[in-house]
């Protein structure tokens, strides 16, 4: 898998249906641009429009996301992110 600022390609030889490293059941029909050859399938993401497409697919439940609360590290990171958000909220209120 390679990724750039606004460009990412997920490549896999394992599952030609998704062309991605993620299983078909997880990705669903989320791949915006499937590029297939005989031995390789690639799923290409190009910038904001594709991100919007993925968010739309997620909102429809076609991509199954993991719950961060299922892992301790995910839980701790969620708590830290919430702390930062609330810090700015409180700072603006006290401002």
């Amino acid at each position: 898998m390679t990724s750039g600022r606004n460009h990412a390609i997920v490549e896999s030889r394992a599952d030609a249906r998704t062309g991605c490293d993620v299983p078909w059941e997880s990705a669903g029909s989320a791949c915006p641009r499937l590029l297939q050859s005989d031995s390789t399938a690639r799923c290409e993401f190009r910038g904001g429009a594709d991100c919007f497409f993925l968010l739309y697919q997620q909102s429809k439940g076609e991509i199954q996301m993991k719950n961060p609360l299922d892992s301790l590290w995910g839980t701790i990171i969620s708590g830290l992110v919430l702390t930062v958000i609330l810090y700015f909220v409180v700072k603006s209120v006290l401002g």
Binding site: L72, I76, S78, G79, L80, L82, V89, K91, L94, G95
Partner: protein
């Protein structure tokens, strides 16, 4: 009545340490221990003898913490919960603590009663209860991080908020 805030603060800290300490015990120790204990057939030791006692102190410590916190806020209670008059920091902490208390009594405890067999439940209901209790408990761990940041935000935090 000057001794009331001092006693309330002391009680708030002691009960809070017990509440959050047991919350961290459940999430950092017991969840993993139960998985290992289930694998070697010794889970009953935890579910019969440890978990019910830990839950008893856990849920009542939550109540005492909240009540002592409310007594400590005293006439600033409304200002804190409405984030007014410079009470936004402690107010956010108070709101998070209140949400956590709700999770304990409305989501964690009723579902733990089903899981531990203190209330009748089918296997399907137990499975659903296990997931709800687990997520509510994990949510409380996540909420405890900002809650402690804002609760502990006395004079030491003033510089962080540019005061």
């Amino acid at each position: 009545m000057d001794y009331v805030p001092a006693l309330a603060r002391w009680l708030h800290f002691m009960a809070g340490v017990m509440w959050i300490g047991l919350l961290y015990y459940f999430n950092f120790v017991q969840v993993a221990a139960l998985k290992a204990a289930t694998a070697d057939g010794t889970a009953a030791g935890i579910t019969k003898h440890v978990a019910p006692r830990a839950l008893l102190f856990f849920r009542w410590a939550a109540v005492v913490t909240w009540l002592a916190g409310a007594a400590l806020l005293s006439d600033k209670f409304v200002d804190a919960f409405t984030l007014r008059h410079g009470m936004a920091g402690i107010g956010v902490g108070a709101w998070l603590g209140t949400i956590m208390l709700f999770n304990v009594w409305v989501l964690i405890w009723p579902n733990q009663q089903k899981i531990l067999g203190l209330k009748p439940a089918t296997d399907e209901e137990k499975g659903a209860a296990r997931r709800v209790a687990f997520l509510a408990s994990r949510a409380n761990v996540a909420l405890s991080i900002p809650m402690l940041f804002f609760m502990a935000g006395g004079w030491s935090h003033r510089a962080l908020f540019g005061l």
